[in-house]
Amino acid sequence: MNFTAYNTIVVKEIYRFLRIWPQTLLPPAISTALYFLIFGKLIGDRIGTISGASYMDYIVPGVILMSVINQSYSNVVSSFYSTKFQHNIEELLVAPVSNVVILAGYITGGILRGLLVGFVVAFIAMLFSEVVVQNVSIALLIALMTATMFSLAGFINAQLAESFDAISLIPNFVLTPLSYLGGVFYSVSMLPSVWQIISMGNPILYMVNAFRFGFIGVTDVDIQLAFMMTGGFIVVMTIFSLFLLHKGTGLKQ
């Protein structure tokens, strides 16, 4: 395993998202501050409590995790796609760098950006809410796994995409709807029963609830199932990414 190459890719990725921080770090900070202000403070005060938590405390974990999802995903998809688009990926393909190292390097970059933004958003949340994290290890572990999973999703999307349009398709038509329907702003128990069942097919629901459990000890789903499901996705997507790299899909003629 070529660790120097891995470090090189990771450092390059960190440098990239820090250098363009007005595009990468600032927007999620602003939009989540607005969520907290509008949903949490203005509307939330009239909603009362869900499962014993104030509405503000209830939405904080989901909003943080939503940022982690979006940021880790978009970091990898845009970085790897532009690397491919500029033919810059050839540097890595010519060099003695294995596919595992290429994948690990880009995924680490995505995880780091996801978690960094997660911490920024958590910090902003502290300005609005007094929520105390009850189980730090569960919260951190599920955040890490979620970031990994969506970094992988971004990587696969970048490999399969043949145009810039194709890389905005998934965030707009899959990620955003699934996040909003993933119980960030409500408890599934508030839904009519048929929608409750449909919601159970949404993987983001499990991660949001597991993360919320880490924060305020409240969940709509089985925590073990949430971990197993996220872990399962990670394994399957890793294998699929490596398969695409091995075949050279979108990278080699």
Binding site: N2, T4, A5, N7, T8, K12, T83, Q86, H87, N88, E90, E91, L92, L93, V94, A95, P96, V97, S98, G248, K252, Q253
Partner: protein, 308 residues
Amino acid sequence: MNALSISQLRKVYSNGFEALKGIDLDVEEGDFFALLGPNGAGKSTAIGIISSLVNETSGSVTIFGHDLQKHRNQAKSCLGLVPQEVNFNQFDTVKNILLNQAGYYGMSRKLASARTEHCLKQMDLWDKRDTISRRLSGGMKRRVMIARAMVHAPKLLILDEPTAGVDIEIRRSMWAMMQDVNQQGTTIILTTHYLEEAESLCRNIAIIDQGRIVENSSMSQLLARLQVEHFVLDLAEALITPPDLEGYQIELVSPKVMSVAVPKTKGLNQLFNYLTQHNIQVLSLKNKTNRLEQLFMDLVQAKTSRVE
């Protein structure tokens, strides 16, 4: 040992086009090898397969004894590639491009910095090290790619048209650099459309056409086969009709400039005897292909020496 050994290499692209129709090629260690051929012949396809950028359909490639299929990483470590098209990160600085490359080859930070400095200085780019590469001129971008390819001191350096679109002064310095690197032991494979460049640099040559090797020999053997050489003669006085000398094809380019096709078997003495007999004075004689280049070089060199 062979630096490169290719056997029965075939490539069929996904659209069904057969770009390589089973080529065999051996390049000895230390060689300066020319890979020539018209546009679309399959040169870049072959180079793409050698450098793991294109998947071969069948056949095998061995680099310094390492089979590309079985020991890909060892094979890759021996190879440095200067691709035909610019492919570095256009938003990165020149120095970072080289440092990253060194990192991909597993070099320590310290060694990477030293090699980066060495290669950038060698390509006359050291004062551009902090420039964002997008802002470089086309010729500078090519030099960045050469510097990048040499950062890990590869044993085999493959250059796909490195001198395309490069001004003649820089081209000359690239030639000097390539010869230098070759003399220090690096095997070089060069692709170019400037035949005089290949002629003056390379010892062995292969010509590809339509996916097949149509010629593979030493440069001197190939040149010996050249039947006719073209010369251009500047005359002291204007002529109205070209001289008529059997065995030579003589044309007037202008009243005072004559072009002569000289068969190898005839040589130049007979021509000059004839011209002397007919009192035609020749001021200068040049090989037709290098004429413009020489003229241009003279002008450029005159200009720069005046500036200094």
